[in-house]
Subunit: 679 residues, 3 copies
C-alpha cells in the first residue's frame, strides 16, 4: 500500500508554481489548497530546464523552497523527475536528443515527448537528474512518491534508434536466418544478408499512414522495440531513484488504452500504476470504467493512482464543454470505485500562457475561491477526508475476465485485410459494456495472467495466439471454465505468421470448429445471427457485421446460424464442451442486444450475480478488504434513479455513517452513494 505515510485518498494534483515568481500567489495557493482539502501536490514535472540551466549546473533552490513551503502547510508531494521534456540548450548542444519523426524528418526543439529514447545524451542526463533528486530529497518527509518523466509516448526513427533496433533484433533472433523466417522476407524479395541492411520502418521504408505496412513482422517488432526503449529510459531513472530511496514508491503516469506502449510490460517495473483520465466528449462512461479496470489489471488488481483528471474543462478536445455540476465528483468516485486510491487533478492553478491555459484547474484564472469549480473541489476534498482510509488498498473482486493484449492490438491494426472496420478496442468494449450494464464486476487481464481464479474468460478477437496460450485456455476450460472468443481469432503466432491447417489455428481444438473463409462486409451491410433455440433471453435473431467467419463445426454445437447471404445456415455461434467446461465462438460482430443476452446467459450459468440492479446509467462497483466491503453506486443520469440492492445485507453510508433501511436506495442525478456492506 502506497498511502501509508498519508493514510487517506490523496487529493491534489499537478502544481507548477515556477510559472509564477510571486510569493503572494504561492501563499494564496497554500491558503486555497487547505480550503479545498488538498494534501498532495505533484511538483517538478516540467522543471528540467529550470533545475539544470546548462550542462554542468544544477540548481534545486526553487524546488527546495516549493517543497518546504507546501509541507509547512501539511501538503505532501508527488515528486516528478522532470524528464518529460528536455531543455532547449540540450537540443541545441546535443541534437541526438531530438527525434526523427514518422515522416523521416529530424525535429528541432519544441513540444514535449520530444526526446529520442535511444539518445545517449537523453539517457545520461535523465538518469543523472533522477539520481540527483533522489540524493537531495531522500529524507524529506514531504515526499510520498516518485513520478518519473510524464506520459511517455511517441516513437522515434533516428539513426540511433536504427542502430539500437538492430542490436535489439540480434538479441531477439540471434541469426538473420531466424529473422528472415519470422518476417517472411522472401515475400517481395526482402531477404537480409547483413544486419545493417535493416532500416527503421516508417514512411520512408515499409510503412505509411501510421499503421499501414508492407511487412507486419518488422512493424510489430518496431513497436515492441520502441516500447522497450522507452521503458529502458524509465528503468534507468527507476534504478537511480531506488538506489537512494528504496522505500519510496516509483510510478509514471500512463494513459489508459494509449496504443504505442505495452503497459503490461511497463507495469512490471512500476511500484504502483498511475494514470491520467481524460475522457473525450463522446467517451461512454462504461469505456472509462473499462479503462480503470485495465489500469487495475496491469498489476493484477493492485489499487492504482488517478494521477490526473480535469476539475472541469479540457483544452485539447475540439469542443471543450464544462463538466456539469456534480460530474467531477461522480467521475472521481468512479475511479475510486474501480481501484483508485488517489484523486489528483491536472492542475491546481491554471497557466496564463501557452497551450494549456484553457485547461481547467482548481484555482481558475480569476484567482479566488468563489467559483463553482472550486466549491465542487472543496466539497469533494471534505468528503474524501471523511472517508479516511476505509477504501485504501481494498480490492475489486471479479469472476469474469476480459483479455486485452497490446501486441495483439498492434497486429490487428497493422493487418492488410480483411477489413478496416475492425477496431480491436471497440470489440473488447462491446463485451465489457454488456457486463457493465448488468453491474457484473469484470477484470481486464493480460495474456500472462493466471486464469484459474475466473469462471468466465472472454478474449475478443484473439488474433495473435502467443506460445503456450492455447494450452492455457485448454486447461482453463478443461477445469470447468467458460471461454469465449470471436471471429478473426487464432490466426497468427507472435510474429504475425499464420498458423496453417485451418483457422482458428491453435484454438481449433478447444473450440471444436474450422473457419474456412472470412467475409468482410461493406459499410452498412449486415447479416443476422439466428438462434436455433432460445438460451435464456437470447432468442430470435440479431444483427451482426464487420466480419463473418464461415465456419464448420468439428465437435462443437451450432447454437445460432447466419440468416442470409450464400452462407445462410452456416454456424454463427458455437459452443464446444471441453472437459468440465465450454468454449464459445462468436463468428461475427453482434449487436448490443445479442451481447446483453449472451453475457446474461453465461453469467447466469455460472451463478454470478449483479452488484446492484437499476436503470441504465446506474453503475455499481465493490471494493473489499479485511472481510469488509464498500459498494459504490454511481448515477450517470442527470435525474435520480432507484438502485435495488442485494437482499439480506445491511448497508450504511460510508461517509455519514448512517444506516440504510430497506434494500432500495435513491441515487440523485449525477450522484454517488458509497455503502459499507455487512452480511
Amino acid at each position: 500500500m502506497i498511502n501509508s505515510k498519508l493514510p487517506k485518498i490523496w487529493y491534489g494534483g499537478d502544481y507548477n508554481p515556477e510559472q509564477w515568481d510571486d510569493p503572494q500567489i504561492w501563499a494564496e495557493d497554500n491558503r486555497m489548497f487547505k480550503l479545498a482539502g488538498i494534501d498532495v501536490a505533484t511538483v517538478n514535472v516540467f522543471s528540467w530546464a529550470l533545475a539544470q540551466p546548462d550542462e554542468e549546473t544544477y540548481d534545486f533552490a526553487y524546488l527546495d523552497e516549493t517543497i518546504d513551503r507546501l509541507y509547512k502547510d501539511g501538503i505532501y508531494v508527488c515528486l516528478a523527475t522532470s524528464t518529460g521534456a528536455h531543455p532547449a540548450w540540450m537540443a541545441k548542444k546535443y541534437p541526438d536528443v531530438l527525434r526523427v519523426d514518422y515522416h523521416g524528418r529530424k525535429r528541432k526543439f519544441g513540444g514535449r515527448h520530444n526526446s529520442c529514447p535511444n539518445s545517449p545524451t537523453y539517457r545520461k542526463y535523465s538518469e543523472r537528474i533522477a539520481e540527483k533528486l533522489a540524493e537531495r530529497y531522500k529524507d524529506h518527509p514531504a515526499v510520498l512518491i516518485w513520478h518519473v518523466s510524464n506520459e511517455y509516448g511517441g516513437y522515434c526513427y533516428c539513426d540511433n534508434c536504427e542502430a539500437s533496433f538492430r542490436e535489439w533484433l540480434k538479441e531477439r533472433y540471434g541469426t538473420l536466418e531466424k529473422l528472415n523466417k519470422a518476417w517472411n522476407t522472401r515475400f517481395w524479395g526482402h531477404t537480409f544478408y547483413d544486419w545493417d541492411e535493416i532500416v527503421v520502418p516508417n514512411e520512408l521504408s515499409e510503412e505509411w499512414s501510421g499503421n499501414r505496412t508492407n511487412f507486419q513482422g518488422i512493424s510489430l517488432d518496431y513497436r515492441r522495440f520502441q516500447s522497450a526503449s522507452m521503458l529502458e529510459c524509465y528503468k534507468l531513472e527507476y534504478n537511480a531513484l531506488k538506489k537512494h530511496t528504496p522505500d519510496i514508491p516509483v510510478t509514471t503516469n500512463l494513459m489508459g488504452f494509449y496504443p504505442e506502449l505495452n503497459y503490461f510490460e511497463w507495469a512490471k517495473y512500476m511500484d504502483v500504476v498511475s494514470w491520467d483520465n481524460y475522457p473525450s466528449l463522446d467517451t461512454p462512461y462504461s469505456f472509462t470504467a473499462m479503462t480503470h479496470d485495465l489500469m487495475r489489471g496491469l498489476k493484477q488488481g493492485q489499487p492504482f493512482m488517478l494521477m490526473e483528471q480535469t476539475p472541469s474543462q479540457q483544452n485539447w478536445q475540439p469542443y471543450n464543454s464544462l463538466k456539469r455540476p456534480g460530474v467531477m465528483r461522480l467521475w472521481s468516485h468512479q475511479a475510486v470505485a474501480r481501484g483508485a486510491d488517489t484523486v489528483l487533478f491536472f492542475q491546481l492553478r491554471r497557466s496564463i500562457g501557452a497551450c494549456e491555459k484553457y485547461h481547467g484547474a482548481v484555482i481558475e484564472h480569476v484567482g479566488h475561491e468563489h467559483t463553482r469549480v472550486f466549491r465542487e473541489c472543496a466539497e469533494l476534498g471534505a468528503e474524501l477526508q471523511k472517508l479516511g482510509d476505509k477504501v485504501l488498498d481494498a480490492r475489486v473482486e471479479a469472476k469474469v475476465a476480459i483479455v486485452f493484449d497490446w501486441e495483439n492490438r498492434w497486429a490487428i491494426e497493422l493487418s492488410s485485410g480483411p477489413t478496416v472496420a475492425l477496431k480491436y478496442v471497440e470489440e473488447v468494449h462491446k463485451y465489457y459494456d454488456a457486463l457493465f450494464n448488468m453491474n457484473v464486476q469484470t477484470a481486464m487481464i493480460g495474456v500472462e495472467e493466471d486464469l484459474s481464479g475466473y469462471d468466465i474468460v472472454i478474449a475478443p478477437v484473439l488474433y495473435m495466439v502467443k506460445p503456450g496460450y492455447a494450452k492455457k485456455v485448454e486447461e482453463f476450460v478443461a477445469g470447468g471454465g467458460t471461454f469465449v472468443t470471436t471471429f478473426f481469432s487464432g490466426i497468427v503466432n507472435e510474429n504475425d505468421l499464420v498458423t496453417t491447417g485451418g483457422y482458428p489455428g491453435e484454438l481449433r481444438k478447444v473450440l471444436g470448429i474450422w473457419a474456412e473463409e472470412i467475409d468482410a462486409l461493406l459499410p452498412g451491410s449486415t447479416n443476422r445471427i439466428v438462434m436455433k433455440e432460445s438460451l435464456g433471453t437470447l432468442e430470435g435473431s440479431y444483427e451482426c457485421g464487420i466480419l463473418c467467419d464461415l465456419i464448420h463445426t468439428k465437435g462443437a454445437t451450432a447454437v445460432a446460424e447466419y440468416g442470409s447471404d450464400f452462407y445462410k445456415g452456416m454456424p454463427a455461434l458455437t459452443v464446444n464442451k471441453f472437459g468440465q467446461g465450454e468454449a464459445w465462438y462468436v463468428a461475427s460482430s453482434p449487436d448490443k442486444a445479442f451481447m446483453e443476452g449472451f453475457m446474461a446467459k453465461l453469467v447466469q450459468d455460472k451463478g454470478i450475480r449483479p452488484l446492484a440492479r437499476g436503470p441504465v446509467g446506474l453503475e455499481a462497483s465493490r471494493r473489499a478488504k479485511d472481510g469488509k466491503s464498500l459498494l459504490f453506486l454511481l448515477n450517470h443520469n442527470a435525474h435520480a434513479v432507484t438502485a435495488e440492492l442485494e437482499a439480506g445485507k445491511a448497508y450504511a453510508d460510508a461517509v455519514s455513517g448512517q444506516a440504510v433501511s430497506g434494500n432500495t436506495l435513491e441515487v440523485p442525478g449525477y450522484g454517488v452513494v458509497i455503502l459499507e456492506e455487512a452480511k
Copy 2:
C-alpha cells in the same frame, strides 16, 4: 487623390504582352482596348526573368516598347516592379532566395510567392530592379502608379529567417528574461538561456496543422515577424522608387481578409491601398462588401483601387462558373460604391499556357470582340467614361464601426481550446451582415483608429486587448458612445497571456460583468437567449451557440438570459451604463434574427437611418465629397426590386443625368443605379 493624371475611374487591368512575341496581336490588343474603353494596363508584373536574364544584365527594351505602344493609343500604365516571382537562374545560383516550407522542406525553383523575405539575395536584387525601373521610367508620361511585387504572402522557415527572427526578438524583448516571461516558457520547461536556442515554429518544432501550436507566444510573434519581414521587402522597393519618383504613388495589391499579413501595418507604408477581389462561389455579397469596407478602412477611409477581378470566370476554384450577365458590372459598381476609384481586371488577354489559362479575360482565347464577356466589358467602359470624375476621392461616411484586428485573429486561431468552431472572421461578419441588410453604412476599423467619430463601435470576440485599448473604449463609452463586445473577449494581452482576476479582463470595468466559465457547445447543440423584456423588435427568444460565457453582472443589467442547461437564468446579454454611454456584452454567438433585432435597436437608439429600404439583396452605399453625394443602389437578385429612397431629397441618375421622380425606384435584376443626391 491618385487619379489626378487620369481623372476618371481607371479601367483596364493586368496585361502580359510578353507572352506573345507578336506585333499583330499587340496591335489587336490596342484596338480592342480602345473598343472597350480601357485606359490603364498593369504591366511588368511577372517580367523579372525577362528584364534581368542574368545577374548583371538588365534589358528593358521590351518594356520600353510596351509602354510606348500603349501610351501612343492613350493607355496609361500601372507599372509593376516584377518581383513577385524570382528568376530561375537566381534560384539556381543563390538558393537562399528559396523558401523552407512549413513542413521544414527546402523548396526548389517553382511557382510564385516563392522568395524568402529574409534572403539577402532577394532583398538586394528586388530593391535594385525597383530602382532601375524608377530611374528609367520616372519621366514617362504613361506611368500612373507603381505596383510593387504581387500579392505578397506565404511564410518562410529557413535558416536566414531563423537568424532574423532572433534579431527581431532581441529588438522586441531586449532580454531573454522578458521573452521567457512573454512566452511563459516555464510551461513545459522551455526556458531559453541563449537566443540561439530559439528555433522557428513550424511542423518540426512547436506547430502542426498550420494553426496548432504548443506555444502561442512564439507562434504569434512569428506571424508578426513574417508579416514585418515581407513588409520590409516592400519598403526597400518603396524607398527605391520614391528616391526617383517622389510624386508617383506606390501600392501593392492586397487580398482582403488574407490571414497571413497584418494589412493595417502595411497600409501605413502604402500611398493607396489596392486589392484583388475574387469572391469564392459561396461568398455572400455582404462579405464582399465587408471586405471592400475593410480595405477602405486600412487607410482610415481613403479610397482604394480595385486592382484585380475577373471579367467572368476564375480557374482556381473547384467549380468555376461564369459570372451571369450583368454580374461583372454589378460587382464592379459594388467596389466603387464602397470606395474604389479604379476597376481593373485580371487579365486583359487570356494566357494560352500554364495554370491561369482558364481564368477569364477581356480578350478571350477566341481573340475577337464578339463575345458576351467583351460586350459587357465595353459597356462598362463606356459607362465609366460617362461617370467621369464624379466619384473620385469621394468618401464613405459611417457612424457605426466594426473593429477588426489581425493579431487578435491570429491569437484566436492559435488558441488551444475552448472550441474549434469559433471563426473570428465569421463572427465579425455576423454583425456586419445585420447592418448591411439594413443598409446602414459601416466602417471596418483597426485597433489604432480613433473612435470619437463613431456613435457605435462593435468589437466582436475582442479576445486580445492591447495596451491602452480598454482605456480607449472606456473614454468612448464615457463620452456617450455605444460599445458592443462578445463572449471570449478581454481574455489575453498582446502576448496571449491571460489577464487574471476574472474575464473579460481589462474590459470588466466598462462592461460591468464577470465571466466565470466558458462552455463550449458540441456541434449541433444550442442554447437560447431569452429576452427579459422587449427591446424594440428584439423580443422572445433566440438560438445561440458555439460558446456560452457564464457571466455574473457586476453593475451591468441583464437584458436577456440563457434558456436552458445548468446555467439557465444566467445573463446572456447585458448592458452597462458607463458615463454618458453604454457597453453591451453578448455572451454567446446568436442567430441571425437576434443580430438583426439587436443591431436595429442600437441603430435606432442613435438615430442612424438606412440609406435606402428594399427587399433582401438590395444594397445601398453612399459616397460623398464637396457636399455632394452619390447613392449606389445594387440589386443582387436576378429579378427587379423596388428601392425606397429617403424622402425629401432630389435624385438624378449619375450616368444619364436624368432626374428621378418620386422616392421609389425600380432596380433591374443584377442591376445598378447610381443617383446624384441633392437635399
Copy 3:
C-alpha cells in the same frame, strides 16, 4: 499466337515456393495443381535477393529445381525476371537505386516498385540478371513466356532523374527557346536560360496534391519522361532476353487504366499484353469489360493474357468481401470473352506472412483441397481443358470505337479549371457503358489507330488534339464515318497550349460549331438537354451537368438545346454533315438515359446489331477466327435471365458440344454460356 507450345487457355498463376523451404509442401502443391487443372505457374517474380545474394554472386539452384519439379508434373512456367523489387544489399550499397518521392524525400529500403528508373545501378543489374536468366533457361522446355519485372509504376524525383529529364528535354525540344515557348514560361516569369535551371516538378517546385501544377507543360512532360524512363528499363531487359531467346515471347503485367504509364507506348515493345484484373468493390462490371477491351486495344485487337486475378478475396481493399459462388468463373470468362487467352491467378498458395497473406489463393492457409475456393478453381480448370484451343487467338470484331489517350488524360487531370468534377475515365465509361448495355461490341483505341475500319468513332473529352489528329478525323467523317466528341474538346495541342481562334480548336471545321464559353456547374446543379425533335428513342429532355459549353452553330445543326439558365435555347447537341459522314458534339455531360438513346440512334443508323438481347446484367461478347465464332453470354445477376439470340443461326454449347434449340436461352445466376455459332 503465344499459346502454341501449350495450345489451350493457360491456367494457373503466381507461385512463390521460395516462401516455403519444404519439399513436402512443394509435393502437395504439384498434387493440388494437377487436381485443379493448373498447367502454368508464374515463378521468380520476387526472387532477386535470393538469386543474387550479393553483387557478384548468382545462384539459380533454387529456380532450377522449381522449374524442373513443376515441369516433371506437366506444369509450364511463365518466367519472371524478378526485377520488380531490388535486394536490400543493393539499396544499402548503391543508394541511387532508391527513389526520391513526390514530397522530395529520399526513400530507404522497403516495399516494391522501389527502384529509380534512371538509377545506373538498377539499370545495370536488372539488365544483367535478365540476361543471365535467358542464358540459363533458353532451352528449358517448361518456359512459355518471359515476365519482365512486375507491375511497373510510381515516379521518382531524384537527382539522377533530374539530370536525365534535362537530357530528355534537350532531345525533345532541341533549344531552350522552344522549350520556353512550349511551356509558356513567360507566364510568372519562369524563363529558363540554362538547362540546369530546370528542376523536377513535385511538391518542392511546381506541383502539389499529386495532380495540381503551376505549369502544365513541365508536368505533362515529366509524366511522359517517367513513363519513357521505366519503359527504357523494360526495354533493356527485353533486349537482353531476346538476344538469347528470340522466339520466346516477352511481356510485363499492366494494370488496366493505371494512370502513370502510357500503355499505348509500352505495348509497342511487348510481344503480348498481359494485365492484372483487380476490380474494386464498387467497380461496375461494364468498367471491367471496358478495361479488358482497352488492354486488347493496346495491340490493335491482339489477344492478351489475364496475368492475375484473385480466386476469391483481395487484401488491400478497405473491405475485402469474398467473391460469391460462381463469380470467379464468371469474371474469368468475361476476360476470355473480351480477348484473354489465359486465366491466371495471384496466387497459387497463400503467403503466411507480410501484407498479402490475406489475399486469396487457390491453396488457402488450411492447405487442403476441401474448400469452396479450391473446388471452384478445379471446376474451371476442367472446363478450360474441355474448351481446348477453340478460343485461342480468336479476335473480337467491333464497328464502334472509343478513343482513349493517356496524354489527354494527364492534361485533363492537370488542368487548373474549369472544374474538378470532370473525370476523363468516367466520361469515357459513360459512352462505353451505354454501348455495353446494348451488347454492341466496342473497341478501345488509341490516337494512333487507323479509323478506317470503324463505322462510329467516339472521342469523349478530346481535350488535347495531337498533330494530324483533326485531319484524321476529317478524313474519317468525309469517308462516311460517324464521329462523336464532347464539351471541353479540341482545346489544346500536345503541349497543353490553347489553340486560339475559338474552341474546339482544330475540331471546329469537322464539327461546324464555336464554343464561346464553358460554364462549370456546382455540385448538385444540373441543366437539361431538350431535344428539338425526336431521334429514335432520343426524345423529350435529359439531365446534364459538370460542364456546359455555350456553343454557336457554324454550319452544324442544333439537335437539342439547353433547358435553363441564361444560355437556355443555345445548342446542347449538334450534328454536322461533313462529306459522306457526320460529326456530333455533345456540349455537356448527359445522364444515362440520354446516353442510351443517343448510342442506340447512332448504332441503328449504321445498322449495327446487338450480339444478344436480354435484361440488364446480361453481357455478350463474340470472338471469331477462321470463319468460326464463339458467343459468350455472361449473367452478372444473382438470378437466372433469358437471353434472346440472333435469329437464323445455329448454336451449340462450346464446352459440352450440345446443340441449343430455339433462339432463347436461360443463363443461370452468375452463370456463363459459351456458344459456338454457325450461320
